[in-house]
Symmetry: C2
DNA sequence: ATGAAAGCGCTAACAA
DNA sequence: TTGTTAGCGCTTTCAT
């Protein structure tokens, strides 16, 4: 591995001052009329050895870090893991570094994470909040990093937010399940206090047919899924309904419960879930899932995030991206 | 949300100098005999308003950032996602921030990522390298951040590395599959140039019985899994062998190929895979998987990572952690 | 018992 | 055409 040289090393090696090196690399060489020969010498050296400037000192001087902060509830949630991956890739393209903090859905930790990231001088903040809180303090102060909310749109915030259009997706997903299989649908629904879950529930109710019903939990995790499936099985057998899960974690829990009872998933079962994952291929039954456009969300977020101290634009309505249905419902021949 | 005040704001509000505020908050108040009354006033203010020091300036002064860098091939790989989550949690406990860069298995990007992170002043580096490269330059320079390798142990490095004991795990996993089902095992093996894959292959060969065989690919991704399964199916039917996949990505690809052929997974199939994932619950067949102790790896890494400019300890052999077999092989009753 | 001041490495205006 | 310098906000030593 050849590690890049510092500015000082370049200056020493080429026999010019540190200022000259920086003028050349900043493209200010023309403005200050550094001689072509000097420029070439510096450039040649850097081309072969590389250049690494101390970003800490640079950040202090410029009051700008070329870093942005991401605050998410949980890295192990596949949605947030992918969101983070997409954002990281986009940031790298733009020469930015992404600082990620996870908060385990603890509102206190969200505040602390935001504080930590501001202390580190991030140029922008992307936050998936756990509760409806007043972040006006961050947004109001001029010179503070600009903040964009993602995934969770509590109420109609006067600040900018990017999320999937869960309501519409839910309409489509419910309709798609009905199209595949006329039987009734049981909706295993995580805590509808979360706005994304609430939107999904509204969409489901709107598209529901007689016989469809929802069971609700008080969290959004695997345990909630187990509980919901347990509730369902006390009243019905698995084959009698389509089952729609409000998130992959709920689906995981629901199937864990089935396993725990020593049962297996009937191949004719119709399963629906929000969010998509390659491992849904593993399921032995028919599955309709609603993939979020995570790449699109990441791009939108970076588009609206103002990294310079620009004038914060006036309050705006949330940016909603539509998802894509993925149907794994083909009839499969018997085992290979 | 109440965001913390800066040192200057605290000093102004309490009517003392910035120095005094810092002496109090650094616990140096006794040494410099700040009056109890002053201390109390400062503390009270901070207790109610909070304090946020500019970490960028602090890092520049102290030549220490309380941040560590993590360089991984791919965030979307569940193993690395979880490793990152575990490291992030441990770092937060210790007041550290984790900077993560992903490199898509591109050795150039690894070097650039290391450079970027050093430029940001990280106190330590954790790297999952993509190839065997000479990182001696990083490790040799005194005053440079200490580097620990994780997951990938190329050769017998003269520097410290932490990984799972893939060889032993592979022995156990192969043996466990034979214990469940006497039939032969086909090992779908990703590119064995990766040291973890190579170790798994060695373990498989050691524990293999007559009739067992390995098919090899040239990458470690979903496409490799599809190809390997395609190869297998040209020669054999799915029911005739246990199938052992060298990683979850290979398993994903293998099952994608089965689906693409319009086939389904026979319930009596015995599947084995390295790495565990909750969604393995989704599979309709018997599964034996080998979970890595990712939490243990994260703890080990942070234990051996020297954040201060301590004397780098002498070359050491890799730290190998054992995994845990997870068997999903119980006979399940018919569908609920 | 508290404040003043230097210096971390960089940038950009200004001096030479 | 190139070098010198002030200052970003903090820590730490020294002066008051």
């Amino acid at each position: 591995v050849r590690l890049a040289k510092t500015v000082e090393e370049v200056a020493l090696a080429t026999g010019v001052s540190i200022t000259t090196v920086r003028l050349v690399t900043n493209g200010q060489a023309g403005r200050y009329r550094i001689s072509a020969r000097t420029q070439q010498r510096v450039r040649d050296y850097i081309d072969t050895h590389g250049l690494r400037v101390n970003q800490v000192a640079r950040s202090l001087k410029l009051q700008r870090s070329e870093a942005i902060g991401l605050v998410i509830p949980e890295i192990s949630n596949p949605f947030f893991a992918r969101l983070m991956a997409e954002l990281e890739a986009l940031c790298r393209e733009r020469g930015l570094v992404l600082l990620t903090a996870s908060t385990q859905e603890d509102p206190d930790r969200v505040t602390r994470a935001v504080d930590t990231l501001i202390a580190r001088g991030v140029d922008g903040l992307i936050v998936a909040p756990s509760t409806k809180s007043d972040y006006a303090a961050v947004l109001a102060r001029p010179g503070r990093p600009h903040l964009v909310f993602v995934d969770r749109v509590f109420g109609s915030p006067p600040w900018i937010a990017v999320a999937s259009d869960h309501y519409r997706t839910s309409l489509d997903l419910t309709a798609a399940m009905h199209a595949v299989e006329p039987g009734p649908i049981a909706f295993l629904c995580a805590n509808p206090v979360l706005p994304s879950i609430a939107a999904r529930l509204r969409g489901f109710r709107k598209a529901a047919k007689p016989g469809d019903f929802a069971l609700k939990a008080t969290t959004d995790d695997v345990a909630a899924g187990r509980q919901l499936m347990a509730d369902l099985l006390t009243r019905h057998s698995l084959g009698s309904h389509g089952v729609l899960c409000s998130s992959l974690l709920v689906l995981e829990g629901a199937l864990k419960e089935v396993r725990a009872r020593g049962r297996s998933v009937p191949p004719h079962l119709l399963l629906g879930t929000y969010d998509d994952h390659p491992m849904l291929d593993f399921l032995p039954c028919r599955v309709v899932s609603a993939a979020q456009d995570i790449g699109g969300i990441a791009r939108s977020v970076l588009d609206v995030l103002r990294l310079q101290n620009e004038v914060v634009t006036s309050p705006s309505t949330p940016i909603l991206l539509s998802g894509t249905l993925v149907e794994r419902v083909q009839v499969r021949s018997k085992h290979v």
